[in-house]
């Protein structure tokens, strides 16, 4: 029955024609789209965990089998020195928290817990679906961490240790603290409100002529005082701290009048209670604190979620070095390498330290440092750099730089400096609140002075009514509530904003810089043109795919889709910097650039293919002559052009800021119609370029993905990193594009503008309400309970207005 469905039962992707693998799940044969999905499904069935399929609310992620390199990576987590970095040991029990990719629903959590539960040695495992974390406790004698990671891989989940942001620890603690403060304020408010109701409706009677006796009035006041104590001295402390630190920095913020209002209202009410005269405002104080804390708590949750998601992105991939010592090979963590040690680096491995090649020659992909994705030839005596990838051959290098002197460490140092230098833009809310705060303070004081000079004994009470009536509760909620709603909308778009204020900056931008490779382009080669010279194109592709299947060169990936198992490939030889030779179906082929190919075949009259756009051209030849030429180029993302056009239409200048020095950079800039281009830029050059723009008063944003972009991402007013980019780029950026989808930026700008409008509306409403209440309060005509009710209504209207941001999905 369900076998007639065209989509994979496991991941929901279409099933390729002629692929007929099925897995029996709960007595029904279900079709699978690939061996990866089938393997995962079979593991789930054989572990009796098919309940997962019944309860999942979303399709799973496409299964994939681990490649040997990944398996090796898993095992390196077991090295003691590396494991110590992220696990905690209690005797033979070890504890770790991992981040798990693609945990989409509660069924995933259930599946993971059940599967790991079958491993002997697991003491405790629990999955938190909202933070995508797995916390584990296991017996290290019975089980290795790599076994656990492997078991997870078998059911289709990749788990990694991660570098927990320092920020995250603080956010978690702060969130809990706010939750406690909020509850205390909530419970106390309910009680105090109850007693206040009695006096609102005058059941007590202020002079003992009501239905309750005069003694009860005092009793209620004392109880209210008691209940308000924890609200004032525990729940509200964050406001005082913020206010004090602002005052010390000689600034004013919203917390200053908030603190004064809470404190003065409380002291005056306490004074009134003890001296038995005047009004009490305990209910206003409590409710005020409660509403504000609610706003802060919501803001805090968003911040914490962002901190968690961004630390989940920072996977801790062990960096291992194979040390050569007396002809023996020892695996050690890269960071324990010292000068002049000799290290073996196999093809596909990451080079662990800066050094000089002493044996072998190879090609290295240095894209992470330079942004150029074509491998660079490296031979005896050449420098190779930490974090770059060795492509072709096994080499031995002699370590020549201490860890802190490595090229990559220098870029990181530059980035750290840039974080400190980053200019801070005042948000609209900051600017507005300054005036409001001064206004409130001046009015309250002049009201007091006015009535005092007029000889009124109630001057203090009236001034207090002014302060409570104009209390900036709604004003304080105006921005955080809007940012919270907008951040959650951004998350729907696949953008992770680390701070709400990023949205404000987004509306002020005047200039945007883009990195090229991996940002505007996909960073992967695509076939632009093929000249098959009369041969069958599909056959040519199949032959190339067969030969390239043995290569780690970035070009090889391009041909993967054409792989056909009927072509038998043998004797693949790699000529670094030249190309490959191999026999396919017993015929000899050469594949590589023109020089290499023509050196290996008899002289022929084939002319070089025309080279538009500075493409990379490879040639395929038999032992006799060239049979095809293929032009490849880094593919421009389809979303790039609409984005650039959109930015131009709203008057933002664009610049291509790239490390690439080739003509390709010009052709990308030209095709996308980018205003300026700066190419061949080192990380330091990029930083200087950006600082110059900032000095001219431009509000600058930067898009990037590589290590070489990290410093400039930190320096920019606003920065965006691609989700597939380097960790340091993601941790430097204000906003991470989780799905690398540039087209969402346009929507984000629209959202940011809408958020700004909502904030302005909120301010207008809050100030409007305060201005209306003000004359009555100054005239001494506003009873405290009306002031309190008005304040609450005003806050609710502001929050509801902000929630409108959540409406469009």
């Amino acid at each position: 029955m369900s076998s007639t469905l065209l989509d994979c039962f496991h991941c929901g992707e279409p099933i390729p024609k002629s692929f007929t693998l099925q897995v029996k799940i709960e007595n029904v044969d279900q079709s699978m789209c690939c061996h990866g999905c089938a393997a995962v499904a079979e593991t789930i069935v054989s572990n009796n965990l098919t309940g997962y399929y019944r309860h999942r609310t979303e399709k799973s992620v496409k299964g994939s089998t681990l490649i040997p390199q990944e398996l090796l990576n898993l095992q390196s987590y077991d090295l003691t020195e590396i494991e110590q970095e992220f696990t905690q040991s209690h005797g033979s029990t070890k504890e770790v928290i991992l981040t798990v990719e693609n945990v989409t629903c509660a069924a995933c959590a259930w599946l993971i817990e059940r599967k790991l539960g079958t491993l002997s040695g697991i003491e405790q495992c629990s999955v938190n679906t909202s933070s995508a974390r797995l916390s584990l406790k296991w017996q290290s004698k019975q089980l290795k961490l790599s076994d656990i990671l492997l078991a997870l891989a078998q059911i289709g989940y990749k788990a990694y240790p991660f570098k927990a942001d320092v920020a995250e620890q603080n956010e978690v603690a702060a969130t809990k603290a706010y939750l406690r403060r909020l509850t205390v304020a909530g419970l106390a408010t309910m009680q105090v409100m109850m007693f206040a109701m009695a006096s609102y409706f005058d059941v007590i009677g202020s002079d003992g002529d009501g239905s309750l006796s005069n003694g009860l009035n005092d009793y209620f006041r004392y109880i209210s005082l008691l209940l308000a104590l924890p609200v004032v001295f525990y729940s509200s402390t964050p406001f005082y701290n913020n206010a004090l630190s602002a005052l010390f920095a000689k600034r004013l913020n919203m917390d200053v009048p908030v603190s004064i209002a809470i404190f003065l209202a409380f002291i005056a009410s306490a004074y009134a209670t003890i001296t038995k005269q005047g009004d009490v405002y305990f209910e206003s104080v409590c409710m005020f604190a409660f509403f504000l804390l609610l706003g802060r708590y919501l803001e805090q949750i968003t911040k914490r979620k962002a901190a968690q998601s961004s630390s989940n992105l920072l996977k801790l991939i062990p960096s291992i070095a194979t040390l050569v010592e007396d002809d023996a090979y020892i695996q050690i963590p890269a960071k324990s390498l010292t000068l002049d040690q000799i290290v073996l680096v196999k093809p596909g491995e990451i080079i662990p330290a800066d050094g000089i090649i002493i044996k072998g020659e190879t090609q290295c992909n240095e894209a992470i440092l330079t942004g150029e994705q074509l491998p660079v030839n490296k031979t005896l005596g050449d420098w190779v750099f930490a974090s770059t990838v060795n492509h072709d051959q096994t080499i031995e290098i002699c370590v020549k730089h201490e860890r802190s002197d490595q090229l990559i460490s220098k870029i990181i140092a530059l980035q750290e400096q840039a974080v400190i230098d980053k200019p801070k833009l005042a948000t609209l809310a900051d600017k507005l609140s300054q005036y409001v705060v001064i206004g409130i303070l001046v009015l309250s004081i002049s009201t007091y002075l006015g009535w005092w000079l007029a000889g009124n004994d109630d001057a203090l009470w009236i001034a207090l009514a002014v302060l409570v009536a104009t209390c900036p509760c709604a004003l304080s909620l105006a921005t955080p509530s809007a940012y919270t709603a907008a951040s959650s909308q951004l998350q729907h778009l696949g953008l992770l904003a680390k701070q709400g204020s990023a949205l404000d900056t987004l509306t002020q931008l005047t200039h945007i810089n883009f990195d090229k490779t991996g940002t505007l382009t996909t960073g992967q080669f695509a076939i632009k043109h093929i000249d098959s010279m009369g041969n069958n194109e599909n056959e040519i592709f199949a032959i190339i795919a067969a030969i390239e299947s043995q290569s780690t060169h970035p070009i090889a990936n391009t041909f993967k889709p054409y792989l056909d198992n009927t072509y038998e490939v043998d004797n693949v030889t790699n000529f670094p910097g030249g190309g490959l030779s191999a026999t396919v179906n017993n015929e000899q082929y050469f594949l590589g650039h023109h020089q290499f190919v023509s050196n290996n075949i008899p002289a022929n009259d084939y002319v070089l293919a025309d080279n538009f756009d500075n493409n990379v051209i490879i040639y395929l030849a038999t032992a006799k002559n060239i049979i095809a030429s293929i032009s490849l180029n880094d593919d421009i993302r389809t979303e790039s052009e609409p984005l650039i056009n959109k930015l131009k239409s709203i008057g933002i200048t664009t610049t291509l800021l790239t490390g690439d020095n080739s003509l390709n950079a010009d052709s990308v800039a030209q095709k996308l119609n980018i205003d300026n281009i700066a190419k061949g830029q080192s990380p330091k050059d990029k930083l200087t370029y950006l600082k110059n723009l900032q000095d001219k008063g431009e509000i600058v944003a930067m898009f990037g993905d590589g290590v070489n972009d990290a410093p400039v991402l930190s320096q920019a007013h606003l920065s965006f990193a691609m989700g597939t980019g380097a960790d340091i780029a993601k941790s430097s950026a204000d906003i991470v594009l989780l799905h690398d989808d540039l087209s969402k930026i346009g929507q984000a700008i629209t959202l940011a503008k809408k958020t700004k409008r909502i904030i302005i509306q909120n301010f207008c409403w809050a100030i409007g309400y305060n201005c209306t209440a003000l004359p009555f309060a100054m005239a001494g005509l506003l009873p405290p309970y009306i002031a309190a009710i008005g304040m609450s209504l005003s806050s609710i209207i502001v929050v509801s207005n902000s929630l409108r941001l959540l409406k469009d999905k």
Partner: protein, 65 residues
């Protein structure tokens, strides 16, 4: 109305208890994953139906506590 004099302190005592319980809940991470627990009840059925043929059940039910 003298009863109020006694009832109010009792009410406050109840609030203190509620506050204490809440503080304990926050401290023991009860509010860490609100999405997950809502659907956990659905999975309890599976544990019962597949108890006979699954060895991992004991470990799991211990973990769910």
């Amino acid at each position: 109305m003298n009863i109020i004099l006694i009832l109010i302190p009792i009410a406050i005592a109840v609030i203190l208890i509620a506050g204490y319980v809440f503080f304990w809940a926050v401290k023991s991470d009860q509010f860490e994953d609100l999405d997950r627990q809502a659907s956990n009840i659905l999975f309890d059925d599976d544990i019962e139906t597949s108890t006979e043929n699954n060895k991992g059940v004991d470990t799991i039910s211990k973990n769910d506590e």
